[in-house]
Amino acid sequence: MFIIKLLSNFFKLFTKDNNPTQVGLGFAMGFLISFQPFTLLSVIFFFIFWIIKVNKTAGFISLFIFKFVAFITEPLIVPIGSLLLEGIPALEPFWTSLRSAPIIPYTKFYNTSVMGGLVVGIVGFIPVTLIFRKLYIIYKEKYREKIAKSKFIKIFKGLPIVNLFFKINKTIN
């Protein structure tokens, strides 16, 4: 049911009118989460992503895409985390106090990959939001109609399995 709902939303993202900012934020949240290994921090980010009003489909698409990006760019992310955790002695007491604090160590902030990913995620959050908002507006204005009327989509819509999917989705709703 969740998959049907997800696919339905996926189609909705590309066919219906969505708030571009929410789409942009969804992508940004996906971007933020994807640069985090599975830790308490990623759980918290996911929870925030789940409760705030953003485009969840955009978020999942972003998560899917940026997970690959994060995996490939790992050699660049780790030095950033290492720099922050080890390269600045002035920050060491702060990290020590965080390490000694309750619960916070579950975020594994002391891991270079987590810290690097967090920095990349926070730094890239607003640019990613703005870029994907803009891209979605461009898509909505220029390409959505064309794609909807394209032969590929017509063939796709005519497929029996797709028809079945839409029927089930209609029943659920």
Partner: protein
């Protein structure tokens, strides 16, 4: 959809609350009872157990742990126990208890029903590691150390007690010598005084002088008498002077004898002092060192039990948790090794040396109380106290495990004893400290045997104990000070005591305050024991005092006896001599004066008589001449 979510959340919440309120406590109670019973091998049960999953608190009432050896009795019973876990620490899978309480622990209470359980033979018996099996390998063996002179026979031999008991002492022989000397002297002078009668001579002389008649007639015949009287007077005078000279010589002889006697007494005093010092020296009391006597009395008992005493402290160590979990590391200046990045590996953890975390478990305080209520054990002590900081790793909290207890002992008239202990495992120290203090310990009716003048019983005394024990891997130190005040001994008054035993009795009689310190340590396997006490001072002072008293008494007795023999008659003699001398002298002087006057008078008369005689002679001669001339003239005329 939202309603469904709400319903789901509500159902889950209600289920959780219901579980917490209704099921959690009985389930926990059953599980604890089941596993604890299996572990103990007899029934473990509680009347009530309240578990609050949300508050993370546990409160149990009337916990009974059956004695597996006697299932109609409990090993112990706890009226109430309670603790609360810290939520944040629990989130880190750590146990943090701010305060726990175990109230009214009673040992050996009777059960209302049998606490036996059926043990399934198929099931593997749960074995609990006996912490006693993890004893330290630390072993004490002092038998070959030969550091303590604990051979009582050797000690007695060196002290030559037999010799003193027999009275074979220089002092005694010197006293006997003095006694003989004194007797001889007194006899000699008694005899001399008895035999000497100057007064008889004086009376005789006086009589002789009295016989002299100084009324001389002025004639020639008196001359011879006067000369004879003068001779008599001179003779008496000479004799009197001889007596006086004799008295003086006897007096000088007596003074010389008396001085010799005094020298002998002084010599005795010297010998006694020397011998006393020799005895005290042998007893090692001269330097006021209690080592030998302390070792003699206490070391044997102490050393025989030292293994037991020390090993019990090392047994306790096995109950104290050793450090485990994350240990705070000391900062080093070593350069951090750069981690080599491996593709696909998600970074690496950076280590912060100074970070601290919750220990695996930390019970900040446990209040414990125990009493003898319902216990079969007679005079069960009442214990109340607290245990602080039971922790998996003391380095994380920088505090040692501490125990503070107050114990009231009914067996000793409700004596209050404070016992504090600390177990330090920080920075690999592994040091335990114990501190015991008690005041007003009633020490009564202790048997002493009553032999050789020793007391039969210690009737009463107030005791005070203060001691510390330090137990480490390579060190064991204990220092105990014990003070006894208001000591009251009971002696066997019917016992016949020789002089030595009498001295011993007097010493014990003078003991009113006694303190003793035991300082025992083992450092790197080398043991040392020092026992100090004021007993050495008491012995020294008392032996000294008693010997001096005895000497003084002897001296006084001797002087008294000597004086009664000598001094009385001496005085009498001297006064008699003096009186006689004076009397005789004055008499002689008086008589001498009269004699001299009479002599002078006689001389004058004699001169007068002589003059008269001369004139008569001349007259006679002239008359005779004239007569002769006349006669001759007449005859011549006649003739012629």
């Amino acid at each position: 959809m939202r309603i469904i979510n709400l319903i789901i959340i509500s159902v889950v919440t209600i289920a959780a609350i219901t579980f917490n309120v209704i099921f959690a406590s009985p389930i926990a109670k059953n599980l604890i009872e089941k596993y604890a019973s299996a572990a103990v091998g007899a029934r473990v049960e509680m009347r009530e157990l309240k578990v609050d999953i949300f508050a993370l608190s546990v409160v149990g009432k009337d916990l009974q742990v059956t004695n597996p050896g006697n299932t109609m009795k409990n090993l112990f019973e706890v009226a109430r126990f309670a603790f609360k876990l810290d939520l944040l620490a629990a989130l880190e899978k750590k146990i943090l208890i701010e305060e726990a309480s175990i109230e009214n622990v009673r040992i050996g209470t009777a059960r209302k029903y049998d606490g036996k359980i059926k043990i399934d033979p198929k099931k593997k018996k749960i074995t609990i590691n006996n912490p006693i099996s993890n004893l330290s390998d630390y072993k004490f063996d002092f038998k070959n150390e030969n550091i303590f002179n604990t051979d009582i026979n050797e000690m007695i031999k060196s002290l030559d007690v037999e010799k003193y008991i027999k009275g074979d002492l220089k002092t005694i022989s010197e006293i006997n010598k003095l006694k003989t000397q004194g007797t001889e002297l007194s006899q000699k002078w008694y005899k001399t005084i008895t035999e000497t009668r100057y007064d008889k001579d004086a009376i005789q002389f006086a009589e002789e002088i009295k016989k002299i008649n100084f009324n001389y007639t002025p004639d020639v015949s008196s001359i011879a008498k006067i000369q004879s009287d003068i001779q008599t007077i001179l003779k008496v005078k000479e004799k009197t002077e001889a007596i006086i000279k004799d008295i003086d010589s006897k007096k000088n002889e007596f003074i010389a004898d008396y001085n010799a006697m005094e020298t002998s007494v002084r010599e005795l005093e010297k010998v006694t002092r020397e011998e006393l010092n020799e005895i005290l020296g042998k007893m090692n009391l001269k330097e006021i060192s209690f080592d030998d006597i302390g070792s003699l009395i206490f070391a044997d008992g102490f050393m025989n039990n030292v293994d037991k005493i020390t090993s019990s402290f090392y047994k306790i160590r096995s109950f104290v948790p050793n450090n485990r979990g994350k240990v705070k590391k000391v900062k080093t200046k070593e350069k951090k090794v750069k981690k080599k990045f491996v593709f696909g590996q998600r970074g690496y953890d950076v280590f912060f040396p100074d970070y601290t975390t919750y220990p695996d478990y930390h019970i900040k305080k446990i209040s414990v109380s125990a009493s003898g209520e319902g216990s079969d054990i007679k005079n069960f002590p009442t214990v109340s106290g607290s245990i602080y900081d039971i922790v998996s790793n003391q380095d994380l909290i920088q505090k040692p495990l501490r125990i503070e207890t107050k114990v009231i002992l009914p067996i000793l008239e409700d004596l209050s004893l404070s016992l504090n202990a600390s177990f330090d495992r920080r920075d690999g120290k592994f040091l335990d400290f114990y501190n015991v203090a008690a005041d007003n310990i009633p020490i009564k009716n202790l048997n002493f045997g009553g032999l050789y003048g020793a007391p039969k019983k210690l009737l009463d005394s107030d005791g005070k104990i203060d001691g510390i024990v330090e137990v480490g891997n390579d060190v064991f130190k204990t220092k105990f000070d014990m003070n006894l005040n208001n000591i009251d001994f009971e002696f066997d008054e019917t016992q016949t005591l020789n002089e030595f035993s009498q001295i011993l009795k007097e010493i014990f009689q003078s003991v009113k305050h006694l303190n003793m310190g035991v300082d025992f340590s083992v450092l790197n396997g080398k043991p040392s024991l020092h026992i100090s006490s004021n007993l050495d001072k008491i012995l020294y002072e008392n032996i000294n005092r008693i010997f001096m008293q005895k000497l003084l008494k002897f001296k006084t007795d001797f002087e008294k006896r000597f004086n009664s023999y000598i001094s009385g008659p001496k005085k009498e003699l001297l006064s008699q001599i003096s009186a006689d001398k004076l009397k005789n002298l004055s008499f002689l002087n008086d008589k001498n004066k009269i004699v001299i006057e009479q002599f002078k008078f006689s001389e004058t008369k004699l001169k007068e008589a002589q003059t008269k005689l001369e004139s008569i002679k001349k007259q006679i001669e002239e008359n005779t001449k004239n007569k002769l001339i006349d006669e001759t003239t007449k005859r011549l005329k006649k003739i012629f």
